[in-house]
Symmetry: D2
Subunit: 322 residues, 4 copies
Amino acid sequence: MEMKTIGVLTSGGDAPGMNAAVRAVVRTAIFKGIRVVGIRRGYNGLIDGDIFEMNLRSVSDIIHRGGTVLYTARSPEFKTEEGMQKAVDTCHKEGIDGIVVIGGDGSYRGARDLSLRGIPCVGLPGTIDNDISSTDYTIGFDTAMNTAMEMVDRLRDTTQSHERCSVVEVMGRRAGYLALQTGVAVGATSILVPEVPYDIDRDIVARMRKTQMSGKKHFIVVVAEGVGGVQELAKEIEARTGIESRATILGHVQRGGSPTVRDRVMASQMGHQAVELLSQGIGNRVVCFRGDKILNKDIYEALAEQKEFDFNLYRIAHEISI
Amino acid sequence: MEMKTIGVLTSGGDAPGMNAAVRAVVRTAIFKGIRVVGIRRGYNGLIDGDIFEMNLRSVSDIIHRGGTVLYTARSPEFKTEEGMQKAVDTCHKEGIDGIVVIGGDGSYRGARDLSLRGIPCVGLPGTIDNDISSTDYTIGFDTAMNTAMEMVDRLRDTTQSHERCSVVEVMGRRAGYLALQTGVAVGATSILVPEVPYDIDRDIVARMRKTQMSGKKHFIVVVAEGVGGVQELAKEIEARTGIESRATILGHVQRGGSPTVRDRVMASQMGHQAVELLSQGIGNRVVCFRGDKILNKDIYEALAEQKEFDFNLYRIAHEISI
Amino acid sequence: MEMKTIGVLTSGGDAPGMNAAVRAVVRTAIFKGIRVVGIRRGYNGLIDGDIFEMNLRSVSDIIHRGGTVLYTARSPEFKTEEGMQKAVDTCHKEGIDGIVVIGGDGSYRGARDLSLRGIPCVGLPGTIDNDISSTDYTIGFDTAMNTAMEMVDRLRDTTQSHERCSVVEVMGRRAGYLALQTGVAVGATSILVPEVPYDIDRDIVARMRKTQMSGKKHFIVVVAEGVGGVQELAKEIEARTGIESRATILGHVQRGGSPTVRDRVMASQMGHQAVELLSQGIGNRVVCFRGDKILNKDIYEALAEQKEFDFNLYRIAHEISI
Amino acid sequence: MEMKTIGVLTSGGDAPGMNAAVRAVVRTAIFKGIRVVGIRRGYNGLIDGDIFEMNLRSVSDIIHRGGTVLYTARSPEFKTEEGMQKAVDTCHKEGIDGIVVIGGDGSYRGARDLSLRGIPCVGLPGTIDNDISSTDYTIGFDTAMNTAMEMVDRLRDTTQSHERCSVVEVMGRRAGYLALQTGVAVGATSILVPEVPYDIDRDIVARMRKTQMSGKKHFIVVVAEGVGGVQELAKEIEARTGIESRATILGHVQRGGSPTVRDRVMASQMGHQAVELLSQGIGNRVVCFRGDKILNKDIYEALAEQKEFDFNLYRIAHEISI
């Protein structure tokens, strides 16, 4: 099967680096003599035919921009048989021979279903949470970690000046990757993640007391969104330790901003590989990062994988943050 | 009266630039041959005698640090006659002839009371809210505005990618200065401040509709802490416009971070002037910024002043943010 | 004279905040029912007829962008009688009744000449150097200062770790405003500006020795571009003090970046005022900032003014940076 | 052999994340009941006996600071037999049983020589250039890349506004890793590295022309320090293309700044592993990062390794940056 035209879309939550991935897809395709169209608002654009021709200059000066120039949205309609059929019809009508889908596991399921219906799709991992099981790294994760870290570094100033405890919620509904990395990077006294149950006395209060005995009077506790309850936790810590405690939820600010080098380079490489696959007529694959290599695998297998939490880093964090 | 020794303390909420002010106080005093002592944790340090000798190197490499190396705290005890007496006793015991107090209106009242009891004090305006009536500018305001703006710039990426409305609460319990400046700087569709009552339909919904008609699909609404209620407001906006709306509270992150040029330079000039005054035996004054000049005035007068909200800028914001 | 259509252009070196000014011009004009056209590449666009219609959305999401969406260039042809006549012809042909010119003194002269030929022009001060005599503040100055400061803050880390002296050149060919503010903000041991002659022994070496005696071992010397010679100066300092010295030229990086709050707000207010003037048929004026007010004045007078260097701040810097 | 006391030093050029590594070494040692001393100014401190006791609080609030709190310096004396002997004597006198050396290949050779003389040493890779052959990653590299990228992003604004070509020199005397990553991240039209000879017409001019034909008018060329000659190159590009070209040398600014998440986390893990090794009496090793694992290897072997340039990424860069 020859690829004459490929489409590209971003789906699910936006992540810094998505634009760099779109740029790499467009440029690699054109380099290979393949026509590219942009699909707006994720799978909705495929259903509604919201599609436009892209050229080298469509992706100029976007590599450093957060968000996604293709817009993104969730698409409940795409999960229905009718929506899926409309999408397939659009592909036929527009002559789209294959699609690069940038998003998370939910987006991958759509890519798999489209592939099954004869439109080869390749998925790229794009989410700030790094919670895609088939890859060690997702586009947007590095930027989000650094944004969270910089925000906690600012909090540190006021926490230290007032000799308080700051309880900070970072993103990560299902996974503690962002909380763990951020927590290590800011030297948090305690890090709470969904993967590890915690005991407030053992894991927070006792650690604060031990640290206090060595002369330190301010504390940072990093909590993953999936653990939650930071307002109550701050009150509880204050009640048990007598140290004034304040909760902060970093929120959506973590999703935005200009991507870091790592996100831009990773997105460029992944976007390139996605087109390499499609140009050979290969679909139903996801691009992933394992070890230090960019690989690809079958979407079915990808969706079935389990990802391990880095318990070793978690243990190191506890040893060195007293 | 000859000043042999002066003390310096930071009081109330911390603000970026306080360290630059402390540095200027210490260095100017030493330049003039005056001994300087640091007083820790605001007026508490004066009550408890938590005082230490400072030299040129005590303030090395702090000009760029957020927070305050002297720590800060509120001091309910200082408001009692007994606490005040302890503070005066400490001054006599330690040979402190005058004090520079860096903080807000509450701290100024303490400075006035100490001055009345024979310890000349000079107040410096330090608060991120810019809500000190006697001055156009307070140390920390510029940094806080820029921090808030950068955070909203990040939110803009995700707001735009998802075509949402972001309702963002910035600091400012009593005043909308921070909200107004931030709102203008991010091009907010609407800015809500305590100084101006608002009507959700006229001031938000109608403006969003008008903007929408010209082709824009994402919106930012900046709300001062003193107006509050951003969660409910986001729900209400979504209900009335059908546009997905999300609330974000920027929180204490706005208090920290390395100070901007303006905060460092202003703090340096103000700290310098405070010591100029004390070195001439002049107390019961506050340093302030009016027009483009650093001046000083009587604390009583300073506390009695009223500050005007910049309604002209507020009006401009509404004309150009459609 | 009724203004039906106004044009806007950016001229000379670009500066962060120019986009915010363009946005304010466009939006204010449309708010007043005036048509706006963009003129590309400064006066060249006027000569070549490189002009396009602008609407509310032409300036969406540019307030936070550095550079200028209208592009900028110097225009030698515009200084000739022939070029000037072409520009006037374009205005007549395109129905341009008045122009907002954003740039420096050179751009003001063009605005004056056009005004004389019946096209009322209003100048806005846009340059990172703050070297426009008629105004206390120029759009871009605050951003450039903060960029320079952040870069020197980074240099400080390595200067301190290696116990060196860093000699840093910041922009400012004709004026030391940027060097002075940056120097105070980073706590430079010495600040060299074109406005003040210096003696290497008295103003650098002696100050370093004095500082060294109090225990400090790293030094920063900030030098304005107009003083220059940082490579040689670094060698000379090393020869005279025995302290390893390194020169760094910050360069064009200082011109770019997302504008600060102050630049965005100032540009918004100035752009608004420029259209207020033109809408009343008033030309041959420049908008300026004096004290704490945005004012306007005759271009002839503006070009004839002299601006004073802040010798008081320069003196304070020397007292507190030991 | 039981480790009662270990020392830690930083050597060679400073790098962001060195403080995070020192912190991890100190905290891990104390966690294991081992005493730790800090050695100032690299191997010089060992020769001069400039050594101090460290505790949990010696490394508080340094994880986010650039530079190194232990200072660093090159030590020609240490390379002599006499200097080496003095260092060994200091270890015996101070009871230092093992040392963690943070630095580059030069520092590793010192660590090897000390190990040979009975003082077990473990090397940690710390340099912004990533030019240590035995490891895929060096502490400081990620921060330096991001600093360089942010600076070029600022240059992009002015490059674009003036439709110029910017020729930017980034650090890397012997290796193009930093230039390659930065170049990909900023979407540079051409990237010049010491590993790949270049032809100005084929690799720069022809690429600029091709890009120009598609409508782009501004260009960024990233050049590694080891290639050099950016001033001449800019002139040559301007002569051959007619496009105004400017050279910028980013310089030492790239060495400083608060470390990124990656540098802080990597440094924490590596510092932890170094103490794990020493605590088992194992010396003459370096810690390294390979694939996605932190490993360690013999210093002799480490120094003999060759590192490959990522030609694949280099190729991708050329395909997608037109």
